[in-house]
């Protein structure tokens, strides 16, 4: 278990002619020992590049990476003492479950009795004891992923466990089981874990700290709560939440925002640079449909069981609202925004209210 420090990391796959050639833009960050972190972003955002830099498969073009203060930038994966769970389950087909778990220890010359004891512990931890002598090849995808995870955890001093979209090939029901088990293991054993995914639910439920990336750049680092309630960038607002945050162009005037002739009361005054493009962001969860407020034109209602997602338009811009399972959807509604959940943006970056 280790603290991971990223010190001015930058990476380009080809020759660098300008700042746009970096697949991963400058990154300074410290991941505390024993934390659960998620790298979240769409494909091509650089999250896999970053993971490969941590695991040692890629040496960054610039910057250093430190494990507990020790520079490991130039060390290969096998010298870094990390573990990784891949997108598709990787198990050694010809070995039994127990042999799979023993493999990393045997390779490192651990004594037989110690191997046996440690493997028994891990089998117990992962609820795999009953399958210890089964051939790994015959198991289902979720069990194979557990074995890959176990092969990482079996080494007591492992610096970090990396997950590269590990639930991609798992059925929805089993995803719930695996996810909560992973969370429990993290709580109990306190490994430093880094989880890469494009799936917000996985990232938010797993991590204490989520790093949201887009186009090689980190746009926000925060707790799930912060990402949901105070997205720093409109992209985070869009990317987190389902559907994403509603964003409307507004004109700011003290504690009021003007949206296409309508006025919206803000919790406090706010100001933006005069030339900036100003926008108001409100999550569908905090839009209430009723008889007062701004006219909302409904285009479609999706009943997803536990709630209904109402899609429509406000002032000609796409908007959505969430109505609880047994709530009413008025035919010609007007929308109100919960004031303390309103966020303001200037050129896509969040601005604070002056309180």
């Amino acid at each position: 278990m280790a603290e991971i420090t990223l010190d001015g990391i930058r990476h380009a796959y080809g020759p660098v002619r300008g700042p746009d050639d970096y697949a991963l833009k400058t990154l300074d960050h410290v991941w505390t020992d024993g934390g659960a972190f998620a790298l979240l972003g769409p494909s091509g955002c650089g999250k896999t590049t970053l993971l490969n830099i941590i695991s040692g498969l890629i040496t960054p073009t610039e910057g250093r990476i430190l494990f507990d203060g020790k520079d490991v930038t130039l060390l290969p994966p096998e010298a870094r003492n990390i573990a990784q769970v891949f997108q598709f389950p990787v198990v050694y087909d010809t070995m039994t479950v127990a042999e799979n778990l023993a493999f990393p220890l045997k390779n490192r010359g651990v004594k037989k009795a110690d191997v046996r004891a440690r493997v028994a512990t891990i089998l117990e931890m992962l609820d795999l004891a009953a399958l210890a002598d089964r051939k790994a090849a015959s198991l289902t995808a979720d069990l194979k992923q557990k074995i890959s995870l176990g092969r990482g955890m079996v080494r007591e001093n492992v610096a970090a466990i990396l997950f590269d979209e590990p639930l991609t090939v798992i059925d929805p029901h089993l995803k719930w089981q695996l996810r909560s088990q992973l969370k429990r293991l993290h709580r109990e054993f306190g490994h430093t874990m880094v989880y890469v995914t494009h799936d917000q639910t996985e990232a938010l439920t797993f991590a204490d700290t989520v790093v949201v990336m887009v186009e090689g750049e980190v746009v926000q680092v925060g707790t799930p709560e912060e990402l949901f309630e105070r997205p720093r960038h409109t992209f985070v607002g869009y990317f987190i939440g389902s559907p994403g945050m509603n964003v409307f162009p507004v004109r700011l005037d003290g504690a009021t925002a003007h949206l296409d002739g309508e006025t919206i009361d803000l919790p406090a005054a706010a100001s933006a640079p005069p030339s900036a493009r100003t926008e108001l962001g409100i999550r569908p969860e905090f839009v209430t449909l009723g008889e007062t407020g701004i006219p909302f034109t409904i285009t479609r209602v999706d009943d997803v069981g536990r709630e209904r997602i109402v899609h429509g338009e406000i002032a000609g811009r796409p908007a959505s609202a969430i109505v609880p399972e047994e709530g009413e959807v008025p035919a010609m509604p007007r929308a109100t925004f919960r004031p303390d959940r309103i966020n303001l943006y200037a050129d896509d970056w969040r601005i604070e209210f002056s309180s």
Partner: protein, 362 residues
Amino acid sequence: MLELLEVEKRSGGAVHLADISLRLLPGTLNVLLGPTLSGKTSLMRIMAGLDRPSSGRILADDMDVTGVPVQQRDVAMVYQQFINYPAMTVFENIASPMRIARKPKAEIEGTVERVADLLKLTPYLRRMPLQLSGGQQQRTALARALAKNARLVLLDEPLANLDYKLREELRAELPKIFAASGAIFVYATAEPEEALLLGGNTATLSQGRVTQFGPTVDVYRRPNTLITARIFADPPLNVMAVEKRGAAFAPVEGGGRQIPVPPAYEGLADGPYHIAIRPHHVTLATTDGAASLPATVIVTEITGSESFVHLKTLGENWVLLAHGIHDLPPGRPVEIHLPLRHIMVFDADGASVDVGAVRKAA
């Protein structure tokens, strides 16, 4: 219309599909919902004519097409992998089925334009598929299937390989796209949420059998069996084995706790049952007309807007979904509440208890 009559598929000793009878009408969207290996792909292959059923018949517009191969079937398919012709532009990819059918040039151009517009591909028509993002590649594959104008369009987990947000986007567009066509759409997915968002009809599959088929929301709200209810639940359904004695259900591992029989089920005979409740109906705060159970927190997952609390209650693993942030530490004892009107009751064999029949008997 596509009709399957008692279709069965065996190979070797294994039964892949059993006793499947379905009627799919033109202009409808039909979701096949089930976990991996439940038979979704096998069933689609038979509908397409890629495989022949071991027994049973398939009728297309009342004509027996059981042995007719896929080339003569008027079928279009979209797969999980983005399958396009890599050496053709997006335009040519979309036009390819019409070129094969030797359609006139003007018609081809018109159709490609219309379909590309529908799938937001117009700016990319001159590009090569591999220069596009995964989402656009899959849009191209979808566009080609639509351009074929086939009577049956089969989509086998078409969004499974896409990023979460792209999935969300396409899911929102698909119902409109389907509605614009008169074809029969069959859409396989493992995700209950996807089925709900797509709407239409849903057939739930389990171990090669269709457990229920009907309008999607009906199947979700009134599952006929415990199996269907479990398939159509995400987060997973909370289930508990109980014994009905008089006016209350006593959990089998109950330790004296009792759950009043919901009003709708009054008059139910005494005996063993299963009760089930969806995670978002279980609450931490007391509400009127709710039974309560003791539970211990296993772990809590917080998404920022919601909390998934994994619990152990009377020997069962349950999930509770609550709005807002409830950071409950593992091991914390809590009291959970089950609003009676949201409790579903299944008999010992897992069949849904018919509320109407219970009323009549009472």
